[in-house]
Symmetry: C2
Subunit: 323 residues, 2 copies
Amino acid sequence: MKGKVVGIDIGGTNLRGALVNGSGNITKRLSIPSGADKGIGLVIENLGNLIEEIRKGEGIDGIGIGIPGIIDSTKGIITQAPNILHVHNYPFMDILRENIGNDMPVFVENDANCAALGELWKGAGEGVNSLVLLAIGTGLGGGIILDGKLWRGADGMAGEVGHMTIFPDGAKCNCGNRGCLETFSSAVGIGRMVKEGLENKSVETVLREKVESFPKGRIPEIVREAALEGDKFALWIWEEFGKALGIAIASLVNLLNVEMIVISGGLSDAWELFIDKVVGESKKRGLHAPMERIQIKKSTLGGDAGLLGAAYLVIREERQDFI
Amino acid sequence: MKGKVVGIDIGGTNLRGALVNGSGNITKRLSIPSGADKGIGLVIENLGNLIEEIRKGEGIDGIGIGIPGIIDSTKGIITQAPNILHVHNYPFMDILRENIGNDMPVFVENDANCAALGELWKGAGEGVNSLVLLAIGTGLGGGIILDGKLWRGADGMAGEVGHMTIFPDGAKCNCGNRGCLETFSSAVGIGRMVKEGLENKSVETVLREKVESFPKGRIPEIVREAALEGDKFALWIWEEFGKALGIAIASLVNLLNVEMIVISGGLSDAWELFIDKVVGESKKRGLHAPMERIQIKKSTLGGDAGLLGAAYLVIREERQDFI
C-alpha cells in the first residue's frame, strides 16, 4: 500500500488537488482557476504550481491526474479535450515533466474513468466488482469497471454512454448522431427541451419568465426549482430525462450484466425528480435476472470521486511509470 | 499447450462434437440428434454416447461444452434454456458426471460465448484483443471479449446484444420489452416484418405466394431469395435488418471501443443484403475515432465457431475443474 499521493481533477473552470493517503482519506485540498479558456500552456503552469503547493513538505509516492477529454494513458497524450483551448494530440506528460521534474510516477486518465475508480474505491461502489458510472453534467460521460478494473477500450475511448442511441430519429446531438442519451439526460438535453417547449406557445410554465433572466449554465438548476414548485412542464422534462436514462440503463444491464450503475455529476443532485422514472423504465425493459441483480445508486463522493479516483491510479499502480 | 480435447455444441436439433488439437484443427467430427424436445434427460444420455464415441481410443485432456441458455459456468448449472425441455436451474455438470465419470476436466459455457471465443482463437478475430460477436439465428445472441477474455457479467448473463433497445416504441419483443434489436435483426424479426407487410394489402411482393407454401423456419431463406430476385419488399426487410444492426453497433462501439464486431449465425449468410446498410448506419452514428478503429467482419468459422470455442475452454483452462 502506498503512503500519500496527490490526486488532481482538471476541470474547465478549476483545478482541484488533494493529498490522499492509502486509505482514501483527503488530508489537504486546494483549488485554483484552471485557465483552460486561455489554452493548455497556462493549465500546465497552474497545474505545476498546484502540485508544488500540495506536495510542499510532504513525502509523496506519485501523482494521479483526471483530465476531461480523450486520453492515451499509456503515452500520456491528450488526444482531444473540447473544454481546453489548443489541445489536439497534446504531449501532456512530457510537458508536465518539464515543469514538475521526473522524480515521481505520474498517471493520467479521463475524468469520468477517474470518477468510476473513485466510486469503486471509496464511494457507492465499494465492495462491488463491476459497475458503470454515468457522470451527468453539461454532457453525459461514463466509466466502465469490469472485474475490478477500468475497461478503457482499444483507444481509451470506452464508456461514451452519453452517445448510445436512444431514439434513432430524435434530436441532433453535438456528435453528429441523432437521439443520443446526451440529447435528453444532460444539461445540454435539458436546455434543448426547455428551448423547444418555450417555442410552443401553448406550453404554460413558470420557466417562460425565469429562463431569460438567468445565465445559460444555470438552466438545469432553474428547471429543478420549477419542478420542485410543481411546474408541470418542468416535471415533464425530468421525466423525459429519467426515461431516457432508464432505456439506456436497461440496454447497459442486458449487455454487461454489471452489479451497479452509479449516477454522478452535477445533475445527479436532482435525483428525487428523475430516479423513479429511471427505475420504472429500466425494470420494464431489462431482462429479469440481471435487472434483479442491478443496484442503481447515487454517487456518495460527489465532486471528490474524480480526485480520489485520480489518487487511486497511483495507489493501484494501474499505470506504467513514465520516468 | 493441451493435446487433444473434445468440443461439443449442444443445439436445439443436433448435438455436434469434435476432436480438436491444441492448434485448433478438427481431426474427427460427429453429429447426432439432441433430443432436446424430449427433455434434458435424453440430451444428457445422447451427450454421454457422443462423448464416448469421440474419445474412443484417444487420449484427451478435457471436454468443453457450449449450451444454448443462461449458464452458471462456475457451478455447472443451466439456469435457463428455452430450447431444451424441462430445464430450470438444472445441475447439468453433476448429472453429466454421473454419466461420463470424473476422470477429466469438463467446462461449460453459453453457446454464443463459445462462438466468440472460437472466432477469437481461430476465426475472424484471430489476433485482436477485444470483440463483440453477434450470433444471428432465430434470435440474436452475443458474446463479449475484452482484453482477450470473455466478459460473462455478474450472473453469466452479459452479451444479450439482441435485447438492446433500438426503437423504444417499437414492436413487442418476446422478452417483454419493445423495440429490441432482436425484433428487427433475427429470424423472429424477419418473420414479424413479413407478417406485418402481408397484412397491408397495398404491399406488392412475391412473398405473398411463397410464404404460405414453406415451413415457418425457412422464412429468412425465402426472404433472402426474394431479395436476390429484386423483390422490393424483401429488399426493404434486409435494409431494416441492417439499419437496426448498424444502430446497435454504433452504440456498442461508443460504449466499449472494441476492435472488432463479428457477425455470425445462420442469417449472416445474407451478408451481401444487409452489410452496406450496417456499415452506413453505424458510421453515420458512431463517434469518429472508435468507428475508424472498428472492423465489422463476417464469421470465418461458421457453424464450427461454437465447437472450437468449446474446445478452447479446455485449452485455455479458463474454468476451474469440477472433479
